[in-house]
Symmetry: C2
Subunit: 335 residues, 2 copies
């Protein structure tokens, strides 16, 4: 199944089923009003949703409308919890050089993961407000999974069984804050503004052979201001999502709707390019003796699209512009 | 006003108004069904809630019932966001010695703050499941505030105006994970299981002179297995809550219901004792050459009560027992 969410003024929006070819959509509300509702009652609603999804794909739903990803919110605009790993170790090792930080202990054997804010995720095409260009505005192209409830201490295999949906996301980062926040030991906070998501969340079966070993075997095409920036592949992920979920659940239960991220998709081959500017910059330092590429400016766009070998894009695209945030107090916050 | 939440099987529970003397309670549902609902519509519902609260205090509500804090969930069982600072620098400086970590940069001028999980807060008397005694089970007695929506880049004075409620909490910690997670730079995750809250959240006016300069001027009495452990005072907080909220909102908007914590209440005077075991242990190391006190064992209890000079406890008490978590998969997670 494929899902998207339309904004409706509330925190969770309105759940839509999206056809496999992303051409049509229909409300899921006869069965589940929101994606969080569906995730909390998955065993109860999955059969009904599947039947409605099959009918949508067959062209049997008279209420189906053309699907417009630019009208969508994030699939789960407010999630109970968001834990983002750094599971492509190539990226992490390069970033250690960029930030000149000491080697992370047990980096090869224990996932590193930070807790992010999950109350205010952004849709795929909305302008992204940032306070200042000097903060080092950067993108991070990633994959993620959305889980059913997970008990404390779940095993990797149990964790794998609780994966309900796969998503594609941009973990926006402000590099000027990163090194200081890492040095505090308390982790990222100001360095991580709201995260953006591609419009469509998919069940694992939708990816077919491109979902295996708890990894998304797709290329992530990244373009910055319409120019190629990278196309790293998800298969090089050093920890699978099952291991990441089990890590997150080691000392806590995870509520249904928790999202676990892969960290920046990154490949060892230089030919793959990068899914974030910071990584390109450190590669420039290593290969050319200095960083040439600056961070994003207001008005810049970044587009990210996961694709299979035939060019199919199961999640749609993230395609956003960075804009200057209104000064304090002028910006209307969400409820 | 004073509020509490009764569990009802859902994520948010059912909102109650609690009388000033904590003796009676009545449903707030004629006006707001949940505390999150009230916070999101505060300007619309505050007058009605205040009238109902006044009637409850006057004994005019026939539906009022005796208030039973042991039946309560956390006031806000699932919050949009939870950011916990370390704003009592005395504690932070002692902990640096305990963990033998490098000095935190700009510790005196920039708050340190970590992002915590906010989906599964625990009520004041529920047993607290932990996976293993070897994880170094510890408590951290703190104060916190719950805010209305806060725009990105809010000033300290604007942040102060958006404080709606004050709470008392126990930021449960697993010390065996802390040093490794701090060294990764990604911050606490496994080191921070679900946080517990005293039953009653209060509006700032309820504290009278005990709420000033964005600080809670109350003693936090901490007892471990019915023995005095500490009574540090909130006035020594080095950053006020206004500064902490503005720090959290520097690069993001905060949704209504976001909770910001003070970090462990800690006083320079050794006579005040401590609000967490790790701090007592490092004081033992410094003063006596070695840590004598171990961490919590299954079956241990901790009680925390904030009090004014006359012994009044505006939030009630947190009074919990640590128990062994069921092994993987056996524990039923929440939806």
């Amino acid at each position: 199944m494929k899902f998207a969410t339309l904004p409706d003024g509330g925190a969770q929006g309105r759940l839509m089923l999206v056809s496999r070819d992303l051409r049509h959509a229909a409300q899921a509300s006869p069965i589940a009003a929101t994606l969080l509702d569906a995730l909390e009652r998955w065993d109860e609603v999955a059969t009904g949703l599947q039947a409605r999804y099959d009918a949508l794909n067959a062209g049997w739903l008279p209420e189906a409308q053309p699907f417009d990803p630019s009208a969508c919110a994030a699939p789960l605009p407010r999630s109970p919890q968001w834990c983002d790993a750094s599971a492509f170790l190539n990226h992490g090792r390069l970033m250690e050089q960029a930030f000149n930080t000491p080697p992370i202990p047990e980096f090869d054997t224990v996932p590193v993961m930070y807790q992010g804010a999950s109350d205010d995720f952004l849709g795929p095409t909305i302008d992204v407000p940032m306070p200042d260009e000097v903060d080092g505005i950067d993108f991070e192209g990633e994959f993620g999974v959305i889980v059913a409830s997970v008990p404390m201490g779940a095993s990797v295999s149990d964790a794998m069984r609780r994966i309900r949906l796969i998503v594609q996301l941009n973990d926006w980062s402000l590099r000027a804050f990163g090194p200081r926040e890492m040095k505090t030991g308390f982790g990222f906070l100001q360095a991580k503004p709201s995260t953006s998501f591609a419009a469509v969340a998919v069940t694992p079966d939708e990816l077919g052979e491109h979902w295996r070993d708890g990894r998304v075997h797709l290329t992530l095409d990244v373009e910055w201001n319409d120019r190629w920036f990278g196309h790293p592949h998800g298969r090089e992920m050093n920890f699978g999502f099952g291991e990441l979920i089990a890590h997150a659940a080691r000392t806590r239960r995870l509520s249904a709707g928790t999202i676990v991220g892969s960290g920046t998709v990154s490949n060892v081959s230089r030919d793959a390019g990068s899914a974030c500017i910071a990584e390109r910059r450190v590669i420039e330092m290593i290969d050319e003796g200095g960083a040439r590429t600056g961070f994003m400016r207001f008005g810049d766009r970044v587009r990210m699209t996961a694709r299979d070998d035939s060019g199919q894009a199961p999640f749609g695209s993230i395609d956003q512009r960075v804009v200057r945030a209104p000064s304090s107090g002028a910006q209307e916050p969400r409820p």
